[in-house]
Amino acid sequence: MTQPSLALEVQDLDVRFGSTHAVRGVSFTVSDGESFGIVGESGCGKTTVLRCLAGLNTKWSGTIRLAGQVRSHHRDLAAARLAQMVFQDPYGSLHPRHTVDRVLAEVCQIHGLDDVEGRIDRVLRQVGLGPSFRFRYPHQLSGGQRQRVAIARALILQPRILLLDEPTSALDVSVQAEILNLFRRLRREFGLTLVLVTHNLAVVTNLCDRLVVMHTGRVVEALDAEVLRTGTPQEAYTRQLLAASRGYDRSTLAAAEALEMGL
């Protein structure tokens, strides 16, 4: 039986792309209203996991439950209303010739929602953009404003879960701070569950309560953000990632190379 308090349950998720075994038996659960991180280096499979959850990748095996409902392997509007995704690059994820209004209206149309006007108005306010942004094109917006539009597009369906794929890594430090603060506020106001994929440990400890560290398609370690903060992870790989994330320090090099030989 699935406990009702789980927003997300992943069991033995496995993904292959031809001969590449991208995700190898990944399992984790996320409670309702929790903020959960998936951390790892490029090619570790973290984004693939998120794409399976969002339904963008349909060839996987294992079990995914969104709010207790088993996720199907095909496009699924009900699942889309439960979990929405925000992508890394706001320059690439918004149609360059659609206004903000059209981007947001399209979502309502697909899902047959009423009161489109009211919804667009409210959601723009929720992400900190006034109604004046409604008829602008992406090229008339800054990177941070575009990412707010992408977040509004996800929020307009009033999902329970936001899937965030490196949502701030294309942004400047000062803009990143604004977007991270926005996620924290949305989580508080709407009781949203956040699943954040990132390579940046500082972003994860800022936003998440718990996380998993992935490497070569597997979960290496599941831990509380507090463990990263106090610098006491169990696994050598996590410790090395942590050391490398603290800036340039030659003394971490030998350990990194030893680990690389061993893996």
């Binding site: 701070a177 924290r184 400890t205 800022n206 998440c208 994330s245 030659r250 990194a256």
Partner: protein
């Protein structure tokens, strides 16, 4: 430390567009020696344009003006602003070279990496094929590539991002330049690979007595790697300090950036948001 390797005086980069002139770099001056100088700033601060302007790589509709860009390399002192195109061609790569952000876009995809490195050497040194090949393999070894003979014959798509960036560094360093300009050289790399690549640059700078300009948006990286830091905002240098003192910076912009940066050790909670003061544009 003598600051006589490069001195830039009142450098300006302007772009003349239909809708008016955009000033990317607005009258900056700095001097550097054979040290590791970091330039940090956000996008649009002018940090990359500064690197390009030194090499006269700013294309039209951009224009570069300065009182002087004096470079004191192995072939004597000269003003890069007035050097002829032929002289600049010899300086680029030979005495000042540049590593860009992403090896995927900087390497020639239809030429083996070994040939590209050997070519870089042969353009600046009059040597035969065999000697260039030997030097290229030695250089691959110097950037800690384990099987240099095998890697020599590979194409760029057959190497990883970290290895690609080491190959770029090998190519840029083989003519033994006096100054290396590295524009976000590790931003496309994973953190663990980043440390390896920086350690290689660090060693080469120290062993060869080279100067390095490291352009980056990453304050922690610059603070932990460089000797000195220039902080740019709106095309100007707003602060200059020793890298290890960056965390005690005094300019409100630098302080704001540091406060906006999430850190692993900090408890969760709202980050300080940078409030931009129009006065910083004129400071």
């Amino acid at each position: 430390m003598s600051f006589d390797l490069l001195s830039v005086e009142n450098l300006r980069v302007r772009f003349h567009l239909d809708k008016g002139t955009v000033e990317a770099v607005r009258g900056i001056s700095f001097r550097m020696g054979r040290e590791k100088l970091g330039i940090v700033g956000e996008s649009g601060s002018g940090k990359s344009m500064t690197g390009r302007a030194i090499l006269r790589l700013v294309q039209k509709p951009g224009s570069v003006t300065a009182d002087a860009i004096r470079f004191n390399g192995r072939s004597g002192s000269r003003d890069l602003l007035t050097a002829s195109p032929a002289e600049m061609q010899a300086i680029r790569g030979g005495q000042i070279s540049m590593v860009m952000q992403d090896p995927k876009f900087s390497l020639n995809p239809v030429m083996t990496v070994g040939k590209q490195i050997a070519e870089a050497y042969r353009i600046h040194r009059k040597v035969g094929r065999t000697e260039a090949r030997e030097r290229a393999i030695a250089m691959l070894k110097a950037v800690r590539i384990r099987d240099p003979e095998a890697v020599f014959n590979r194409y760029p798509h057959e190497v990883s991002g970290g290895m690609g960036q080491r190959i770029m560094i090998a190519m840029m360093l083989i003519p033994d330049p006096d100054l290396l300009i590295a524009d976000e050289p590790t931003s496309a790399l994973d953190v663990t690979v980043q440390t390896q690549v920086l350690a290689i640059i660090d060693d080469l700078v120290t062993e060869r007595g080279m100067g390095l300009i490291l352009i980056s948006h990453d304050l922690n990286l610059v603070a932990s790697f460089c000797d000195r830091v220039l902080v740019m905002y709106g095309g100007r240098i707003v602060e200059e300090c020793r890298a290890k003192d960056l965390h005690a910076a005094t300019h409100p912009y630098t302080r704001g950036l540091l406060a906006a940066l999430p850190t692993i050790d900090a408890p969760p909670g709202d980050l300080q948001v940078l409030t931009r003061d129009p006065a910083w544009m004129h400071a």
